[in-house]
């Protein structure tokens, strides 16, 4: 255990001012999507209040990944054409980019790699939800995937100074990198991520995805399926080298996650084999 780092991290999580912020509109839209009383026009109005987000949202609505062919020129039009869940995902991409699209030193991720990793995991998670006939949760799988590693943005600095200790603990105790993060620094990137989402007032399901994406077997029952989907999508992207950093593949593939989703061996291999399509789809989000 590295006492100094642990104390510093305790300070950070207890003083949420030091955790990253997100434009208000993201939290509002997430709440409104779950509110049966919120109309399309109210949601569109809320988004339109943030000019910078609106510009990006419209651009994303017309990107090859989200577009339905017809040019979309207003947020209101987007909610009608794409549906509010899709628009919520798009707002999310626009609102989180500045937090995630940077160099992540301690994890050895060059600028853009963590962002592209999140997008690829999101595209793959959504795909898994669709092929497993769970389209009603595909949007949550997508949003949760975008931010599943957000904790790395805060932890990176400390991982950098404790890197040797973490690696030697992985080696001597044969535990995963993220378990070693927790043992050495008192927190792993999942727990820090959960604190960030708590600061943002995000719903429990998204907090669970962030908190348990490397240990889906420990997720509460009501979120186990979504956590498992993101876990598998994350694993496959890492195996494909997408967003793999200094923590490498020092993680587990959870058998319980495979069973929870009901993925057959062949389906799992196909997801990996189709990574070039996943990457193409992810790079069409811009």
């Amino acid at each position: 255990m590295h006492e100094q780092i642990k104390q510093r991290l305790e300070q950070i999580v207890n003083n949420i001012g030091q955790l990253p912020s997100i434009p208000d509109v993201a939290g509002k839209v997430i709440t409104m999507v779950n509110d049966p009383d919120a109309s399309f026009s109210r949601i569109a109005e809320e988004i339109s209040k943030d000019q910078a987000i609106t510009t990006n949202v419209l651009k994303l609505c017309n990107s090859a990944y989200f577009s339905r062919g017809k040019e979309i020129s207003s947020v209101e039009r987007a909610t009608v054409t794409l549906g509010i869940k899709e628009v919520k995902d798009i707002v999310f991409v626009a609102a989180t980019k500045s937090i995630l699209d940077k160099q992540i030193m301690g994890y050895d991720l060059a600028k853009g790699e963590l962002w592209k990793h999140g997008l690829a995991v999101a595209v793959l998670s959504k795909h898994i939800a669709m092929i497993k006939k769970k389209s009603e949760i595909a949007d949550i799988a997508f949003t949760g995937s975008i931010i599943h590693d957000v904790g790395k943005t805060v932890l990176a600095l400390y991982v950098q100074s404790a890197f040797k200790e973490i690696v030697s603990l992985v080696d001597s105790k044969q535990i995963t990198f993220q378990s070693a993060e927790r043992e050495i620094m008192g927190f792993d990137h999942q727990e820090i991520g959960e604190k960030i989402l708590t600061k943002w007032n995000f719903p429990q399901i998204l907090r669970d995805i962030v908190r348990f994406h490397h240990e889906p077997e420990n997720a509460p029952n009501e979120s186990k399926l979504l956590v498992s989907i993101v876990h598998i999508a994350n694993t496959i992207c890492l195996m494909g080298g997408i967003g793999v950093g200094s923590d490498g593949l020092y993680h587990q593939i959870s058998e319980e996650a495979i069973k929870t989703i009901g993925l057959k061996d062949q389906e799992l291999e196909n997801l990996y084999s189709n990574l070039p399509d996943t990457i193409n789809n992810a790079s069409a989000i811009q």
Binding site: T176, M239, G241, I242, V244, Y250, Q252, I253, Y272, S273
Partner: protein, 159 residues
């Protein structure tokens, strides 16, 4: 000036001195072949050991290797001057051995070595296996390969 070219998953690239070819690897293999006389080389980033034959040949070791050799010969390389370096093929740290996907890294390594041997391309360095992700840079000025993994760098010079 060295130009840097990123080689993506299931892609292949050939180029001449002074280009640097880079890729990032998990369970995939970066196959780097170099002509020491012509100072020209190529990199294939393969995802799987073998496919059905009808698909994208760059994706599989068994089809990508002959294609890469062919592309180099078309670019004026001589087969007898070619040598290879390979990297990648990592596996997840913990998994139940009955999950066949988890064996992909090992299978990729086996198939890559087998195909290079069958095509009589000597392997000068193999930085493969284990659980680390790798960023590799293949320098076409002299055929050296830099492998960055787990915060450390290694250089392989032999061509």
């Amino acid at each position: 000036m060295q130009t840097l070219i990123n080689v993506g998953v299931a892609q292949m690239q050939t180029a001449a001195n002074p280009t640097v070819l880079r890729t990032i690897l998990g369970s995939c293999i970066g196959i780097c072949i170099y002509d020491r006389v012509k100072k020209t080389g190529g990199m294939a980033h393969i995802l799987l050991p073998n496919g059905s034959g009808s698909e994208k040949p760059e994706k599989y070791a068994d089809t990508a290797i002959p294609l890469l050799i062919n592309n180099l010969i078309k670019a004026g390389c001589k087969k007898e001057n070619l040598s290879a370096k390979i990297s990648g093929g990592a596996s997840m740290f913990k998994f139940n051995p009955n999950i066949s996907l988890a064996q992909i890294g090992e299978k990729n390594i086996e198939m890559t070595i087998k195909l290079l041997e069958e095509n009589h391309i000597p392997i000068m360095a193999a930085d493969v296996g284990g659980n680390a992700g790798r960023v590799i840079d293949f320098y076409l000025e002299d055929g050296r390969l830099k492998v960055r993994a787990g915060g450390k760098e290694k250089m392989y010079y032999k061509i």
